[in-house]
Symmetry: C2
Subunit: 431 residues, 2 copies
């Protein structure tokens, strides 16, 4: 049985119990959320997970880091290093988006090493194998695609992005819409090319029950991909995007009927004032299924610093109800990230997630800030460093300039904390 | 006459004309905003400014970079380098917050070199000179303080932070409030110490007319400082903060009566869902005077990455109506920034400002993103790099991994842009 089925019959599974412990919430709260579909616990029956992760309503906002090779860069060692970095800086999940090298070997190595849930986009492997074996993506068969999905599910992949909503009707809406950047989803582009060339419906849509059967067997959480997500502010919240979301909403209900855990993916590029509306739309059209957003990026012009741009959009989305933030790295729009950029991306998303956790009253979030502020007030630098997201960087920045007293080099002897403590007589021990 | 007085009598000054040109708005729009007090143009009569800057309603969101020495770090050369970096990455103004070395010499050098408006916090110099000459900040006299203000005004400082709202009544509210981090404003701490020790009212409040007379004479824009701003989320929007804002609102009106340009400073540390409320409160209590926010920081725990945290808060504040973002650097809470961190801070704030400009319909903002997206669609890398905030970094990230085709190393041959252009027949020339 899947987590969804267990929850429905009233069972609190080990996974639900561990998620509840980790979040500091009631087991019954988690069980009810999983049963209702507002919480998913990506946990393939064949994957040994060290740190389970619940995604959804009432839980801490989660962060995903994309890793994986491209045809131009990356190898197994580099990707395992990215995995290590992502885990160290507390990504909650990783996705292996490899498209270069031995895809199966890289994925299996990541699965073995990863203590956190792993996601994939099976159409990548299916498309690339079609190029290798049949000379073109468009020569891929539906069976090719489903056999890759089954292979990855059997190996233990915990969640899979499947672009089931890139249907012929959605592509037709896209054509009538007209866009600046058309389709920017790689998986969406693979499918669109296949469908247009073969004049056939998307096999992930047409044979959705087949997909559900595989997902149910291994308890793979489906992440319904937004192949038609906007790739520029100009294309945001347009008819093609919303058409696809309407379809995904229907597919969410079919997944629930089949006992399959499911979440929904969202943009992408959105003007800041459209972020909350996109979250509300998903929650409404998809009946509260967890929402997994990429960024969102609130401007198109921040390449080199898109992790910052994504943190702005991510924080706003999370406060509005998004549950799961896919990080964006400084390399976005420019190239494949290296391990340093993976780190930057994870930290930026974690700041966004935490800013939202505070507002949402997530257990422990406020207390963390309170502790930091108390350490700041008492000029306890070791405690401040310890409480940071990146203690090594905080230590380096603090100690890079010598100081004459107990304050930092920003103010030296003119530290407001010290002055005021003295004048108001509120001096903590260290002052 | 000040810009405010000129605008009121119906004159469009050279400064108003240049601001209007720069913004692509009507001269009369700028004049009316200056006359109404909703726009300020910091421009001391004695400062040769190369790039004028209008701050306020209907204009592009502006970004300030704080530079300046501390007793522990920085010297004239380093600060001039920070100025150069801030200007290169398009800060709209800089503030010299020096508290170490020869304060006058550093300020005058920055004034000479700076093509953009310069702000200061005169209480720093006054307090430090009191320590040097009279052995303690508390021995500073009101005349000492006003003579520093006059000296800096005469030299050409364009705007000055003056913590006029740290009154005895506000300190009393602070005592009754109780806080985690008491007072974190350095200028606020200097004044509070002086007031508590001497049992006297804040001279900047008590002799506000004297301040207005000096400001009017040189057309120094007053930036009414928030000495009691919250230094932690726990202290956000508390009674001490709001008491000070009530006082600042009254002082805004007195400045306008005296023909003096004025803006108001704001937090600081705020939970994300309090940011918009703080902007609305300022706009309401201060009758639409421009709002100049520090960050705001939406969590206390992001030291090392507070520029990202400040970008989140800044974007939300700007969309809500804040006009002017003071940057925060990665060194915030840890030490004085070096030039690299100044650059990081400016860019993060500019992303926040631009994300808001798009939403606010600022002229040219949307078009910039549109151009970038078109360059992206056509895989025109040189144009993409040119349109970035930091072309050198974008170029480095793009070219750090070799690519086999025209796409970037993220997707290589599987670039969605290329695939879709081919399949949909929308290929731009480069594809």
């Amino acid at each position: 049985m899947t987590q969804l089925e267990l929850a429905r019959e009233g069972t609190v599974s080990k996974e639900m119990r561990l998620v509840a412990q980790e979040e500091g919430v009631d087991e019954e709260f988690v069980r009810q959320g999983v049963a209702a579909g507002t919480i998913v616990i990506p946990a393939n029956k064949n994957h040994q997970i060290g740190r389970f992760c619940g995604v959804g309503k009432g839980l801490r906002i989660k962060v995903n880091a994309n890793i994986g090779t491209s045809p131009d860069y990356g190898d197994m060692e580099t990707e395992l290093e990215k995995l290590r970095v992502a885990v160290e800086f507390k990504a909650d999940t990783v996705m292996d988006l490899s498209t270069g090298g031995d895809l199966g070997a890289i994925r299996r190595a990541i699965l073995r090493e990863s203590p956190i849930p792993l996601g994939t986009v099976p159409i990548y492997q299916a498309g690339i194998e079609a190029i290798e074996r049949r000379e073109a993506i468009v020569k891929m068969t539906a069976d090719d695609l489903f056999s890759v999905i089954e292979e990855q599910a059997e190996e233990g992949v915990d969640f899979m992005t499947v672009h089931c909503g890139v249907t012929r009707s959605a592509i037709e809406r896209l054509r009538r819409q007209g866009r600046v950047t058309d389709v920017v989803s790689r998986g969406g582009a693979f499918l669109l090319g296949w469908m247009v060339h073969n004049e056939q419906e998307n096999p992930l849509y047409e044979q959705y029950d087949r997909l559900l059967e595989i997902a149910r067997r291994f308890d793979v959480t489906l992440s319904l991909g937004d192949g038609l997500r906007p790739g520029s502010l100009a294309d945001a919240t347009d008819r093609a995007q919303v058409e696809e979301l309407l379809i995904l909403g229907e597919l969410v209900e079919r997944a629930w009927e089949a006992g399959v855990q499911v979440m929904v993916e969202g943009p992408g590029h959105l003007p800041l004032d459209q972020v909350a509306a996109n979250v509300q739309l998903e929650k409404s059209l998809c009946k509260g299924a967890p929402f997994y957003v990429l960024g969102p990026l609130v401007t198109d012009i921040a390449a080199g610093y898109d992790h910052i741009c994504g943190a702005i959009g991510g924080a706003i989305a999370a406060v509005a109800g998004a549950d799961f933030l896919c990080y964006v790295t400084p390399s976005e729009h420019l190239g494949l990230p290296n391990p340093d950029e993976v780190k930057e991306g994870v930290i930026a998303s974690r700041i966004a997630a935490h800013a939202a956790d505070i507002v949402k009253g997530v257990k422990g979030a406020w207390e963390w800030d309170q502790k930091m502020s108390q350490a700041r007030k008492s000029l306890d630098w070791e405690e401040q460093v310890r409480l940071c997201l990146d203690p090594d960087k905080a230590r380096r920045l603090h100690y890079q300039h010598e100081t004459s007293g107990t304050a930092c080099s920003m103010c030296g002897d003119y530290c407001a904390m010290e002055l005021v403590a003295r004048f108001l007589g509120t001096a903590p021990e260290k002052c």
